[in-house]
Symmetry: C2
Subunit: 199 residues, 2 copies
Amino acid sequence: MARLIRPLANLHEQLRRLPGIGSKTALRLAYHIINMPAEDVQRLAAALVEAKTKVCLCRTCYNLSDTPECSICADPARDKSTICVVEQPQDVMAMERSRGYKGLYHVLHGALSPLDGIGPDNLRIKELLRRLQQGEVKEVILATNSNVEGEATAAYLAQLLKPLGVVTSRIAHGLPVGGDLEYADELTLARALENRLRL
Amino acid sequence: MARLIRPLANLHEQLRRLPGIGSKTALRLAYHIINMPAEDVQRLAAALVEAKTKVCLCRTCYNLSDTPECSICADPARDKSTICVVEQPQDVMAMERSRGYKGLYHVLHGALSPLDGIGPDNLRIKELLRRLQQGEVKEVILATNSNVEGEATAAYLAQLLKPLGVVTSRIAHGLPVGGDLEYADELTLARALENRLRL
């Protein structure tokens, strides 16, 4: 079979390692990159390296940041008495998009998953406890995902935080806004019923 | 709305320009890249720049190459009396995968498309004529795509090559091997009937 010329094969190989990029997509991207203006390729390569080198974790909440303290932690307008615990930096973005939250965050960088060898020590849980010890925080909102690992993490944290005297809450689960009852899965419906609000 | 930190936003912006990569995919890739080992990111960035700088066009057939003459043109075992004309370097790869062809190639780098402003001067047609003038070539196989632009290009080239005294042929169109008659589209079936071979 015809082999790709070496620089192209190498690029193909590197692109193929990215998530969601199969062999054919990687090849299509590689051909596209060869046809791009040289300065655009330089700019893409520089953006890759810059993102990797300049992005660090906020020393307080462990969200992604390009400064030692992230813009949310550094914002004097945020309510410092509430911490919303999420699994990933992406979840902070999602919460911020909702515009419904004005407190701080804490990013665990994962969820408990014994099968994958991820225990409490692999998450930023010690760091969360340290923040709570400073006494400023009144409520911790557990906003981990609604899957097995996320629920287990929330349950574990709820147990752990109980003796500390802070209010612990879990984000609500139920029917998505705009969602049809007809198309909701049974677990979601069961949760929506269980957590019904008295009007 | 929450804004991405600058290095991440920049990477997101650069990735989003790639074909088939939408905003969400670009963001997912950007987060993945931040979690990649630093040397892997360096390797990807280097592969991008290297592919762009080291890949050039073969001086004879205009296929992609990392040497002045591509490995196919430089191969003494290839039949120098036949040239297969294709639109893109990818098409050379596809032909080579079929293992059915032992001649040389000529890559046009596109197809005639007046609506997109692509005329004969934008393709490597002059270069093809120059190769034919050297007198070594006996047959030109037109293997442009089977869409409007590809067919127009093949028809144009067939007309152009007629006075030169070389045999001009067009690759066959018909039912795909392993394809069901039932599911073939009518144009393909019409071509398959029209080009039937007497046994």
